[in-house]
Amino acid sequence: MELSLLFQTLITGLAIGGIYSLMAVGYSLVFSILNFSNFAYGGVIMLASFAGYYAMTLLGANVFVALIISMAAMAVVSLATERVAYSPLRKRNAPPMFFMISAMGLSIFIENLVYATIGAHFYAYPIIFEETTINIFGAALGKMDLFAIVFSIIAIAIMNYFINKTRTGIAIRAASYDSTVATLNGVNLSVVIGLVFVIAGAFAGISGMFLGIKYMAYPNMGWITNKAYIAAVIGGLGSLPGAIYGGVILGIVEAFVSVYITSTYRDVFSFAILIIILLIRPAGLFGKYLEEKV
């Protein structure tokens, strides 16, 4: 009995941690190259949940097609946010603080735009899998959770290959180490930054839709990305493996504190643990450059 609860808690933590990871990757990607925290990302994730919802309900798309539509749409939206809100600042060599404020403004803009156009309703996705769950050692694993974890791993693996093995990926990494030197070596910085936002947008497309399926789509769901941002900080902002581990760690810590310590004081305990981690490793678990932290 006790063992099944332990296992169930682990599964619950992994399922939510996986989504934290996906979102944390989006934060870290942008941070790695522009050195600021893109708080508008939460708004893009929220839009993704609506994109997926409308793809499935209005267009009648199945879950894979809807995922692709959501990823493509958010890649465009994410690129647009860069071109509208950040590119002009970049051209004027504004300090990271200005980017962050611009991002906050954009985030409020997106949220209120949805309130004004779609409204404050909660939208539930159509049923994708029958509510049957898989039983593993007495613990219930939702099929959708399993699907989300597998799909996320595949997406992260593809991105990892792209960043590490392709020429464009190398250009992105070069720009993230030192954008000036990369530019001197013939890297088109504007294109590289655009590409980073496109990838981050596609990841928002995945995580937003999974959040929508798991819970529901509604205008202020962007708050959940605060957790993802914290996960990115634990892992070390700017570090992609850090973002992934940070998300999983946060998800599991939350679940275990809820079950084995207290659900009422869960956030008090889990965030105390995070503060301790940061005290021991100020740059996060995988962070390299302390001075880049916001």
Partner: protein, 393 residues
């Protein structure tokens, strides 16, 4: 313009009637109408409910007047809109008093009603709120006795928790209960606390009390822990979205207990989000369209206005006007006499059942609550219960 002219005239008549009753000529009938004030939000956030109150009161008073009014006098209810705003509620309250209202119905929102309560106390005009559920409305903070002129026809929030526990224990024969509350909401934690107290007093056992933070959407960790303790019933005094997600996640974990929710739940979004997980869940509500006791009222309302009354406000507005009708019939139009009558009201028949005022708190005693059950995408009326514990506080 005409209305103002009329009200000045009426105020004059009121003065005469007060004079007459002062002379002990109570039964000496006065020809002018009896004025009752009613304020609600017919615009703003509570518009749906406010408009329904106006319609229900008009429907009732029309009938009452056709049958000869009260003690041979016609009744006129003056409706004003408080726009769901406290400052406006106070203005409207003062205006109603200067219009000559001898008693007041509404405001329906606790905050607005609290804002009006000091004026009504000072001017000695009885006020009956329709759905102002805050305990502090009738017994202000720091005081241990109820305000003389302020009354309510609805039950207070925590009472719902006691009703849920009574229903779970007595009607559903549940022995082990679990509670999941939102730690960021007073409403939720209070309901949980009263559920716990009543359920334990009745001899049941509360095996788990878990909570989550307001914005949280993931309750599986807490639910998995609850599942281990195998409760018969899970009480969810939450918003409808939280409740829907909790039920969905509980069923996904393979929990088979009964769910009981609260009066936040009855909206279609509950089914959309919870899907089939909501099937069979019980909801504690203050009034239900499907309650047989309201059948005649609902039918009449539908016939007259071509729409459903937006529950529970119109039913409570009628309760309030019925109480005033009885009070005036018995003690005349002196506001203080009406307040005294309301204070000692016992087993008075009103639309939603019988009304007994608790003189210590000015909360109704043994107020009925309605139990509804989810069936497909409908809320079906199940039964009407009163909490077995005399009163929550």
């Amino acid at each position: 313009m005409k209305k103002r002219y009329l009200s000045i005239l009426l105020a004059g008549l009121m003065a005469c009637s007060a004079f007459l009753s002062g002379c002990g000529a109570e039964e000496a009938s006065d020809d002018g109408p009896i004025i009752i004030g009613h304020q609600s939000s017919t615009t703003g956030t509570g518009a749906k409910w406010g408009q329904a109150e106006v319609k229900a009161i008009d429907m009732y008073v029309e009938k009452l007047n056709a049958e000869g009014g009260i003690n041979g006098r016609q009744v006129e209810v003056i409706h004003y809109d408080n726009k769901s705003d406290q400052a406006e509620a106070v203005n409207v309250c003062k205006r109603l008093i200067s219009d000559g209202a001898i008693a007041m119905i509404g405001p329906s929102q606790s905050g607005n009603a609290i804002a009006c309560s000091s004026i009504c106390e000072e001017e000695q005009i009885p006020l009956i709120t329709t759905t102002g559920t805050s305990e502090l409305l009738t017994v202000p903070e720091g005081s241990d006795e109820a305000l003389q002129y302020i009354f309510r026809v609805c039950f207070i929030d925590p009472y719902q928790g006691s009703v849920a526990a009574t229903f779970a224990h007595d009607d559903l024969s549940c022995v082990k209960a679990a509670i999941l509350t939102d730690v960021g909401s007073d409403y939720s934690t209070f309901l949980g606390k009263y559920f716990h107290d009543t359920f334990t007093e009745l001899g049941g056992e509360v095996v788990a009390e878990e909570s989550f933070r307001s914005e949280e959407l993931e309750y599986k960790a807490q639910l998995a822990k609850i599942k281990e303790l195998d409760p018969d019933v899970l009480y969810l005094p939450t918003t409808h979205t939280q409740g829907a997600l909790a039920m969905k996640q509980a069923r996904e974990l393979g929990m088979d207990c009964v769910f009981i929710g609260c009066d936040n739940w009855p909206t279609e979004e509950l089914f959309e989000i919870a899907g089939t997980a909501a099937e069979g869940a019980y909801i504690i509500n203050s009034a239900s369209l499907a309650d047989p006791i309201l059948a005649d009222f609902v039918e009449e309302y539908r016939e007259k206005y071509n729409e459903d009354p937006v529950m529970p406000n119109p039913a409570f507005a009628v309760d309030a006007i019925m109480l005033l009708e009885d009070a005036i019939t018995e003690v005349g139009t002196d506001p203080t006499a009406i307040a005294d009558w309301l204070e000692n009201a016992k087993d008075v028949e009103v639309l939603t059942g019988v009304f007994t005022n608790d003189p210590a708190t000015h909360n109704p005693i043994g107020k009925n609550a309605v139990i509804e059950q989810v069936n497909g995408t409908e809320f079906e009326y199940v039964t009407t219960v009163a909490a077995s514990v005399s009163d929550a506080e």
